[in-house]
């Protein structure tokens, strides 16, 4: 091997060093991608399990009842109108008993208020009218100074979505004609 060949081979070795660096970098990137992929899959599975758990255990009536219990109606403190306050109490009572149609009738007569928005949201949720309840959900969410704005936390929204998805399933279940074969 003459001196020129040694020079050439040194240059080739320098190139190989660059290749080694790039190879290590690609390997690190590959590992990072694998880690990210596993993490995302784990989170997805975890969320799916939460969803299935909630779908199985969540009761719409109980969810609405919890919502009613969050209402801040104070008979003594509300000095606007006792009649309105009593009406809202009536709506709350109807919602607690599951009389959503009756609650809707009372709400129609009441003037706009933060309490009304909250009850309309819950009432239409009970009536499976997601268009209207969604409308009020958005309204409360957008108004940062709304009395019930802070009630729309992640837990509430997640449960709301689960009920929404469950409502599709329930509708499908009603139209399932499998039982006819046994009659």
């Amino acid at each position: 091997m003459d001196i020129n060949e040694v020079k050439d081979r040194v240059n080739i070795e320098q190139n190989r060093e660059v290749i080694d660096t790039v190879q290590q970098q690609l390997l690190r990137e590959k590992l990072f991608k694998v880690t990210i992929s596993i993490t995302i899959k784990t989170i997805a599975i975890f969320l799916l399990l939460i969803f299935f758990y909630l779908a199985n255990t969540l009761q719409v009536d109980q969810f609405i009842l919890d919502g009613v219990n969050k209402a801040y109606i104070d008979l003594e403190g509300n000095d606007k109108s006792r009649l309105i306050t009593f009406s809202l109490e009536g709506v709350a009572s109807d919602l607690k008993e599951g009389n959503y149609s009756s609650a809707r009738k009372i709400l129609k007569e009441l003037p706009s208020s933060h309490h009304k928005d909250w009850f309309v949201l819950l009432t239409h949720l009970g009536l499976n009218d997601f268009d209207t309840s969604e409308e009020y959900l958005t309204k409360i969410y957008d108004q940062t100074d709304h009395v019930y704005h802070n009630e729309l936390d992640y837990e509430f929204c997640l449960k709301y979505r689960v009920i929404h998805v469950k409502s599709f399933y329930d509708e499908e279940a009603k139209t399932y004609l499998g039982k006819i074969g046994y009659e």
């Binding site: 091997m1 040694v6 040194v10 080739i12 070795e13 190989r16 660059v18 290749i19």
Partner: protein, 171 residues
Amino acid sequence: MSFFSTQSSLSSKDIVHFVSQNIHLKKCVRTLYKENYTLVEVMVLKMYGTKLDAEDVFRYALSKVIWLIQEGKIDDEIELRTYIYTLSRKLWVNTLKKKNNYTYYTSDSYHENFNAQLLEDIPFKEDDLYLHKEFSETYKNCKPLEKRMLINKLFQYWKTKTSSSLPKMSV
């Protein structure tokens, strides 16, 4: 020549241009590595090699192709993929021949990226991969030295090596 848009937009022509100018070397190597490694790996694995063999062959072939561009011995008329594949295949076949373990693959010699004619213009020795491994080891041992001294040291080493039988390198 849109260099910063995407990886795939770096064509063979762009790479030859950048490497011959000695700019964006890492970016070029990255593209060549990503686009050609699997091709070489499949070839080596098909011909009784391991993944480690494939890595050795590919790294040397790639470093040699880059050097050939730097020396102006490769222009952009032929795809770099053809150079890398042809050189890798030749290196691996020679290694197998040395091991007396070479089974001729007719189908592989007609591979779209194999061009035996290229090898006629490339400075190439029969036992190039073996020599490279030896040299690489010695180079690593001498590495902290300044380049001129490093070359002299390696030259002295190889001179002694060819005159005697493989002395142990001490730096």
